[in-house]
């Protein structure tokens, strides 16, 4: 391919200064990624980069030549020329040709990126403040994916883990060798779902379902990390994406496990739980799903996110408390948790909120009460 040869030629010439290979090793450059599209994008990126470098060399070359040669201290006498129609036409025409040459491959890649037809797997991705929800369409599998980096790591009370801010509880698992279509939307503000290695970045917009796709070749199984790319509020920096590519067979096994897990969860909710069990579970759920807005000590945040410690709802209104956790409060950042958390988790966290930080109601909310409230 012309561009590759050209790129290689440029690399050799400027390789001593800025070798692209070395740039990749030091994390200086865009990842080439693992899909055909991501690699095409990388090539476009390097092509336009080298075009810019070469234009820069020429323009800055002339400029610095003038700066060193045509300086008054060296006795340079200014000439008086101030226009040249030929020259001006030339430097209008040459960039035009370069741009057209650049637009052709860019258009080809863009058309390819927009072709979301004939997908094998459809995954609906929903952005929430501040987590991602994944639904595997037609598979009866769906879950939320929350950051697992702890506040202790973020606030420097313990050492940061290897995947600091890039780790979640539930990975979005996809098969290799199959075309995956992502249907991206949002439940509240605008987010953007971005995994650099597959070059998928698409805004998640309430009221819209955006489409994007990726085909991860067989042999590229592995874990690929991404992030929310659109400012979505306080915890924008804390809602990563972890994409796990597995073989098609492993993917089927994983789907079965997910479905079996759901059945087991429903059965567990029918069991009996002690106050102590619920408090332990509730504390963990609170830290993961609630503390981001309501504060680690239930103190709330600013005037937008109310405190739970000492709140009248947490102290007096159990039905209202269950209702707001299950259904959320429209028009505010308070989301519906009925699909995000299991019945056991909801019961546990409400029990926790009604007894932690001096709320001491002594009340226990059981999973069965949650099941009843959902009816």
């Amino acid at each position: 391919m012309f561009f590759r040869t050209w790129q290689r030629l440029s690399s050799v010439v400027l390789g001593l200064v800025l070798a692209p290979a070395a740039m990749a090793d030091w994390g200086l450059n865009m990842p080439q990624g693992i899909t055909e599209v991501s690699q095409s994008i990388f090539e476009l990126h390097m092509l336009i980069f080298w075009i810019c470098v070469w234009i820069g060399v020429v323009v800055f070359g002339v400029m610095f030549y003038s700066i060193f040669k045509h300086r008054k201290s060296k006795g340079a006498v200014a000439s008086k020329f101030h226009e040249s129609l030929g020259l001006e036409l030339l430097w209008t025409a040459v960039p035009t040709v370069i741009l057209i040459a650049m637009a052709v491959p860019a258009t080809t890649v863009l058309i390819q990126m927009y072709d979301t037809t004939n997908s094998d797997v459809d995954i609906k991705v929903t952005g929430h403040q501040w987590k991602w929800q994944y639904d595997y369409l037609g598979e009866d599998v769906g879950f939320f994916s929350n950051l697992t980096t702890t506040d202790d790591e973020i606030y420097n009370r313990t050492e940061k883990g290897e995947n600091y801010l890039e780790e979640v509880d539930n990975h979005v698992v996809v098969p290799t060798g199959q075309k995956i279509r992502f249907l991206i939307t949002s439940n509240d503000v605008i987010h953007a779902w971005w995994v650099p290695e597959i070059a998928v970045k698409k805004d998640a917009i309430p009221g819209y379902i955006n489409e994007s796709w990726a085909l991860i070749p067989e042999g590229q199984e592995g874990i690929y990390r991404g992030k929310c790319a659109e400012l979505c509020g306080v915890q924008h920096g804390f809602m990563p994406i972890v994409l796990e590519a597995v073989t098609a067979d492993e993917y089927q096994v994983w789907l079965d496990d997910q479905r079996a897990g759901k059945v087991a969860e429903a059965a567990a909710a029918q069991g009996d739980f002690s106050y102590d069990e619920l408090m332990v579970e509730g504390a963990a759920v609170y830290a993961r799903s609630c503390a981001g807005c309501h504060g680690t000590e239930g103190q709330g945040m600013g005037s937008i996110f109310p405190a739970l410690a000492g709140s009248s709802m947490a102290l007096n209104d159990m039905a209202g408390h269950i209702d707001i956790v299950l259904n959320g409060k429209p028009g505010t950042a308070m989301q519906s948790f009925s699909a995000q958390l299991t019945d056991v988790e909801i019961a546990a966290v409400i029990t926790f909120e009604r007894n932690a930080w001096g709320n001491d109601t002594g009340e226990t909310v059981t999973p069965k009460m949650i099941i009843d409230a959902k009816k």
Partner: protein
């Protein structure tokens, strides 16, 4: 200034019209030089205010983990930094330079609408006072980014958003009045013989900029009014749940926002086009093509807005249109750069501080232009969008671009304003510290952006740590270097070597024919331009 006025007898009756005494001189003034001075000092204060916010942001990003501030305050800082720098520092600084220099360059006695000029300025302190006071309210300052995308800025906004909307309206009124004043002045008050195609390029670029302002500030006013309606009056322009459209917000915002980008750079093109010929002692290469290139850029700025929205899910055809249109901007912009370089070629150059800033402008703005060209390639933009690569790009065009242009202009005209030469060594020291600081701050951002760091995050994954630390060091070097500038300005106003009328050996134009410092009233009788 008073003595200079008295000693200058060219203008007969007007020579005794010195400035009024005390604070009321500044409150009531209709003098373009006084108002220009106030604009410039206001924008410098805003530059330092927005700069402190930037340093708070950079300090927090020095290391991974949250050390100094909380994420909610971080978002307020990034938002306020952007708003203050765009609307409080860069734009008023250009208006200040226009106030001072446009009448002097076209041989006009003052701006055409002097009372409106006073009002344009005095709105600003109140607008920014209101914006800044939200920092001390319980809800906190606006925290949704300077682009304030709905519904984060409507349904999910802190209550301070209403003050923000009111503030934006006031800034918009100020900008529109300022722009109208400049247009009217240029069209009506040119000295005999000063035809349009003889106007200095600074006047030309401001003329075109003023039209952009008149065209797009009402669009900004429209979009914030729609927000106000959504927040307080039950409409649903941007609320999907009510049948509205969050993407509409972005279309309207960027229809304002992209011309706005050129509003912040075209006058800097003009300044650099004044300075380079002066210090190359050679006429500007391709004057006419500079004018046409600026006009082309202004026209194109209206049809490229959606390149800020390549990832929102536009149809393929729209995506292609906006990609091609955006790439086209490289052509007139290239023409300008080639013309500046050709002006230097076979000149007789010296390197006083204004020239150093202008040369740095040409190189670093061009680097910002290169990354802009890269960003215009829509498929690649899917990887660049909303990363630090974009942060690097627009800071390269705005800091060593717009801001260096302004600083170059201040050094260039300072002897004319104050009657004193500034201290050249101190100026060069300021330049080199700023040049090093700006590159150490923003160059590494290209790398961390390409490596995958999103913008507007208060904390980041560990692989981005080294370059963030370097960028923070650069930011502090750059920030504190501006105190050298402040010291130099005060020193030059107070005294220094007496400046000649022409100030610079190679300077040409009407502003260099009047005494230094410029008398309080100039060109009461119009000069004749050959």
């Amino acid at each position: 200034m008073t003595t200079a006025t008295a000693s200058h007898d060219d203008h007969g009756d007007h020579s005794h019209h010195g400035p009024a005494k005390g604070i009321m001189r500044w409150v009531l003034t209709t003098n373009h030089k006084d108002i220009g001075t106030m604009y410039l000092w206001f924008s410098f204060i805003m530059l330092l205010t927005g700069g402190v916010m930037a340093l708070i942001v950079r300090a927090e990003l020095f290391q991974p983990g949250m050390q100094l501030i909380r994420p909610e305050f971080y978002n307020q800082m990034t938002t306020m930094h952007g708003l203050i720098m765009v609307f409080g520092a860069i734009m008023p600084a250009f208006v200040g330079l226009a106030n001072w220099m446009v009448p002097l360059m076209i041989g006009a006695p003052d701006m055409a609408l002097p009372r409106m000029n006073n009002w344009s300025f005095w709105i600003l302190p109140f607008a920014f006072g209101m914006l800044l006071f939200t920092l001390f309210t319980e809800a906190g300052a606006p925290n949704f980014g300077w682009t304030f995308y709905a519904p984060l800025s409507t349904t999910y906004a802190p209550s301070s958003v209403t003050y923000f909307i009111f503030g934006v309206h006031m800034m918009g009124i100020s900008s529109i009045m300022g722009a109208i004043n400049i247009i009217v002045t240029i069209l009506n008050l040119r000295a005999p013989g000063m035809t349009m195609m003889k106007m200095p390029l600074f006047v030309w670029t401001w003329f075109i900029t003023a039209y952009l302002l008149v065209a797009v500030m009402p669009v900004l006013a429209g979009v914030v009014t729609m927000m106000l309606m959504d927040i307080h009056f039950g409409t649903a322009f941007f609320d999907a749940a009510g049948g509205g459209d969050p993407v509409l917000f972005q279309h309207v915002f960027w229809f304002f926002g992209h011309p706005e980008v050129y509003i912040m750079i075209l006058p800097a093109f003009g300044i650099v086009s004044q300075i380079i010929p002066t210090f190359a002692r050679k006429p500007l290469f391709g004057y006419a093509s500079m004018v046409y290139a600026t006009s082309s850029i202004a026209f194109l700025s209206f049809i490229v807005w959606a390149h800020h929205m390549f990832t929102v899910g536009l149809p393929l055809q729209a995506e292609l249109f906006f990609m091609y249109a955006t790439m086209l901007i490289a052509i007139p912009t290239g023409v300008k750069v080639f013309n500046w370089v050709s002006t230097m070629f076979r000149g007789s150059m010296t390197f006083e501080t204004p020239m150093l800033f202008a040369l740095a402008f040409v190189v670093l703005f061009t680097i910002g232009g290169f990354s802009g060209l890269m960003l215009s390639i829509a498929p690649a933009d899917f990887q660049y969008h909303d990363t630090y690569f974009v942060v690097a790009h627009f800071h390269y065009v705005l800091v060593p671009g717009a801001l260096f242009g302004i600083i170059a202009g201040v050094y260039y005209w300072l002897p004319k304003w104050t009657g004193h030469y500034y201290n050249e060594s101190l100026g060069k020291f300021h330049f080199w510290m700023s040049f090093i600081g700006v590159n150490v701050t923003f160059f590494p951002m290209h790398f961390i952006g390409l490596a995958g760091m999103p913008r507007r995050i208060p904390d980041y994954a560990l692989q981005f740590a080294d370059f963030n630390a370097i960028a923070t060091v650069g930011a502090f070097i750059f920030g504190f270097s501006q105190l050298i500038f402040l010291y130099l300005l005060i020193k030059t106003i107070r005294g220094g070597e007496k400046a000649t009328d022409q100030v610079w050996e190679g300077a040409e134009g009407l502003e260099w024919t009047i005494p230094s410092p410029a008398p309080y009233h100039t060109f009461a009788e119009a000069p004749h331009v050959k």
